[in-house]
């Protein structure tokens, strides 16, 4: 039991921090309730998918700077397709497009041996241009059921539908992988590529697949963007840096091999709710970003210090 707590110390710590922040919100704004939770979950939706996408590639030892651009491509693809055809096939096509973009990123990195950060920086521009080619200005429309799906509670009041969709979508993709040998290979490759190679892991293939999963999550992120706004927006949103921030805060080590998706998703909510709290406290928006940055550095430093002390004991 104690071993289990130690292993998941970071995630537990983040969950406690999130609970404290929720309580603080309630304290500042006594009428914060189900509607507040819903808007929080809805606003966190694209961030959560972007973070899941980023987390997978960071765990495998890479980084993908093109997540926001891929989300934009998927959002406009969804908006354009859903104007012309049935929702479900369109949804499938969008997921396939995301997966394909991710696989292209991964294949380029593996085949050219150019560093991840350089390849995906270049692809950031490529995908951005693609999105603008598909739809030069915000437009298109989304199947009404998709827009409606993120609204309202699920079964009980206070459990936002958006949160359930997010949890389900990420769990359906990630859990089977995490439990399979592929998941093991992803962690092994990120932890020590040479040792993984020597242990018989197909390192290159693992890397490409991880980028593919990243693309798939980006497609979900794009779909959620389209669902939230009802249209397709070709210009990428602020999801790149936000996802890196959440991944780092979530306990995934830049460099690979450590951390998981759960912590990163909790970190998304922490970063969102801090923003809400600062807004509620009527703090200058310019100061808000400074506070966010300081909190991030502070939490990561504190966490590292605690982990190191734990390891020395």
């Amino acid at each position: 039991m104690t071993a289990l707590i130690r292993k998941h110390a970071w995630v537990i710590g983040l969950a406690v921090l999130l609970a404290l922040l929720l309580a603080l919100t309630k304290l500042i704004q006594p009428n914060f309730g189900a509607p507040g939770l819903e808007s929080l979950a809805r606003s966190a939706l694209p961030f959560a998918f972007a973070t899941a996408a980023m987390a997978v590639v960071v765990i495998v030892g890479g980084i993908d700077l093109s997540v926001a651009s891929m989300m934009a491509v998927c959002a406009v693809t969804a908006a354009v397709l859903m104007e012309r055809m049935a929702g479900v096939p369109a949804l499938m096509i969008v997921l396939a497009v995301g997966l394909a973009m991710g696989l292209v990123n991964g294949a380029l990195i593996v085949l050219t041996r150019v560093p991840d950060i350089v390849v995906t920086l270049a692809m950031l521009f490529v995908w951005e241009g693609m999105a603008l080619l598909i739809l030069s200005s915000p437009g298109g429309s989304v199947a009404p059921w998709l827009s409606g799906a993120t609204r309202g509670p699920f079964l009980i009041d206070g459990l936002p539908m958006a949160l359930v969709i997010m949890a389900l979508a990420i769990a359906i993709v990630w859990l089977p992988i995490r439990r399979s040998k592929l998941g093991l290979a992803i962690y092994a490759t990120g932890s020590d590529p040479l040792a993984a190679f020597r242990s018989g892991v197909a390192v290159d293939r693992t890397k490409i697949i991880a980028y593919g999963i990243c693309g798939l999550f980006c497609a979900m992120g794009g779909l959620s963007l389209a669902a939230l706004t009802g249209i397709g927006e070709p210009v990428p949103g602020p999801y790149l840096m936000a996802s890196v921030a959440a991944v780092v805060l979530g306990g995934v080590v830049l460099g690979g091999g450590k951390g998981g998706l759960l912590g990163s998703i909790i970190a998304v909510f922490i970063l969102r709710i801090i923003r809400t709290i600062l807004t509620l406290m009527a703090i200058d928006p310019n100061v808000t970003t400074i506070v966010e940055g300081v909190i991030m550095v502070g939490v990561v430093m504190l966490g590292t210090a605690l982990t190191l002390r734990g390891a020395r004991r």
Binding site: K181, L184, A185, Y187, S191, D192, A195, A196, R198
Partner: protein, 493 residues
């Protein structure tokens, strides 16, 4: 079936660009046989091991295991073909626990646990994170994991380096017992005592080719040394090998120095005006010795005195301030590849904090010009050091200290991978530095260099100084025997 060897590799060749690492390697292992794979530094041993384990594809060559032609395109394929390696460095994933590492290779857990116990590791839990376990345990886990997959052929690459004696005994016992049940073993090692205790046969590589097979029997050591050396082309002898006077307070006095994991107990004196060679096989503790002297790593025991004053370095800058100058074997570690020759030579001037501020251009230019001229550095490509040849790069790494005026020079394999002509320019340079009053510690992986550049040499084996040999009798067989820890039959030369 009994006539066909379990593993049969022949005609294996591999070139890296113009460099022929292997030209014709051959190795056979019969069922139940333990074969030592031997060779001096640069004989192609590590390339051969990489090919056998699937990490590198050979240019030519046929490898069959148990009669089936084996395609070793990757370590995974080599495993499936029946050859499982245990590498010099642990190949377990640091951020995963033991159980996950087993799953990664589909290793049966029960068998693994059995082997771990048999090899004498107690108190291991499958939930232990690899990163938290000591190095010696990891090596044993690597071996247990390999054994648990029940391989046809087991390849052990310097398995016993950095293992305590009791674990070494366990390893040898278990491997022998397993071989008696029919497994074939390739045993790559520098240690004659282990080879003669464990192996049935030794295959010797030299210059990329298999040059002989030896039955392990008394006196085989001499044959093996002969085979490993072959007829070396002489590099030309040093004239007037003046033995410098070793009197007074030594520049460097080292007593019982130890540093984890491999340096156990080393003592020697290094005097001003002397070039002291260090002879050792790969991984005998020489890396740690140089790291401690250069301030990269802290010693775990023992003392270091400089000109009679005790010293202990917390940072490389302290070692440099104490007059100890390290020239790494890997030139990339020392040079700023994208900057000019001049800047690289001048770096030590400005690297000292007290010299911060405007650089004295005129003085810098005079001193760097002098160094460039004396080293005969080809300056056609001086704009960027990375465009120079390897030999010229190495001259820059030494030349920067020539310009500064050096007290104690620590040369770590300074002639690795450079051409004979440049080597011949480097030896007189080292001698000249010594004659100017510098004390030079000179580690070399090329035994012939000891006579050419050094006054005497210490031989390190297994983390300890096992011999001190004067240049006059430091011929290659003597050094090689000493480097392999065969000091019992001293005086053969």
């Amino acid at each position: 079936m009994t006539d066909t060897p379990l593993l049969d590799a022949r005609g294996v060749a591999k070139s890296y660009g113009a460099v022929k690492a292997l030209t014709g390697a051959r190795l056979t292992v019969a069922r139940g046989e333990i074969v030592a794979l031997m060779g001096a530094n640069g004989a192609g041993k590590s390339t051969f091991v990489k090919i056998l384990t699937g990490a590198v594809r050979p240019d030519t060559g046929i490898i069959t295991i148990a009669g089936r032609s084996a395609r070793m395109g990757s370590p995974a394929q080599a495993r499936r073909a029946g050859l499982v390696p245990v590498y010099q460095e642990p190949s377990l994933i640091p951020d995963l626990d033991v159980a996950a590492n087993l799953r990664l290779c589909d290793t049966p857990v029960a068998a693994f646990v059995g082997w771990v116990a048999d090899l004498g590791i107690t108190g291991l839990r499958l939930t232990d994170l690899i990163a938290d376990l000591p190095l010696a345990t990891l090596r044993i886990l690597d071996l247990a994991r390999a054994l648990a997959s029940d391989p046809d052929v087991l390849l052990l690459d310097e398995m016993t380096a950095a293992l305590p004696t009791d674990l070494v005994e366990n390893v040898l016992r278990v491997v022998r017992a397993r071989a008696d049940l029919g497994m074939g073993v390739i045993y790559v090692s520098h240690r004659f005592t282990e080879i003669s205790a464990l192996c049935d046969r030794a295959t010797v590589l030299r210059d990329g080719r298999t040059v002989g097979d030896l039955r392990i029997e008394p006196g085989v050591e001499d044959r093996a040394v002969e085979l490993m050396l072959g007829e070396k082309i002489a590099l030309g002898a040093r004239e007037g090998a003046a033995i410098s006077a070793r009197t007074g307070t030594p520049r460097l006095a080292i007593r019982n120095l130890a540093a984890a994991p491999k340096l156990a107990d080393v003592s020697f004196d290094l005097h001003a005006g002397e070039v002291l060679g260090v002879v050792a096989l790969e991984g005998q503790g020489q890396d740690e010795l140089f790291d401690v002297l250069a301030g990269f790593r802290k010693s775990t025991a023992g003392t270091l005195e400089i000109d009679g004053q005790p010293a202990r370095f917390a940072h490389p800058s302290e070692a440099i301030a104490a007059g100890l100058t390290y020239v790494p074997g890997n030139r990339a570690d020392a040079l700023m590849a994208g900057r000019s020759v001049r800047e690289n030579i001048a770096l030590p001037f400005s690297a000292r904090p007290r010299n911060w501020g405007p650089i004295k251009r005129k003085m810098e230019r005079a001193r760097t010009d002098d160094a460039i001229a004396r080293l005969q550095i080809d300056t056609r490509a001086q704009g960027e050091v990375q465009r120079l040849s390897g030999g010229n790069q190495q001259k820059v790494t030494i030349g920067r200290w020539l310009a500064t005026g050096v007290q104690t020079l620590l040369l770590f394999d300074p002639t690795r991978g450079i051409d004979v002509r440049t080597k011949r320019q480097i030896y007189p340079l080292v001698r000249e530095l010594a004659e100017q009053g510098a004390a030079v510690l000179f580690y070399t992986s090329e035994l012939a260099e000891v006579r050419l550049a050094c006054d005497r040499a210490i031989v390190i084996f297994n983390g300890r100084v096992v011999d001190i040999i004067d240049a006059a009798r430091a011929d290659e067989p003597t050094l090689m025997r000493a480097a392999y820890g065969l000091t019992a039959a001293k005086g053969a030369a």
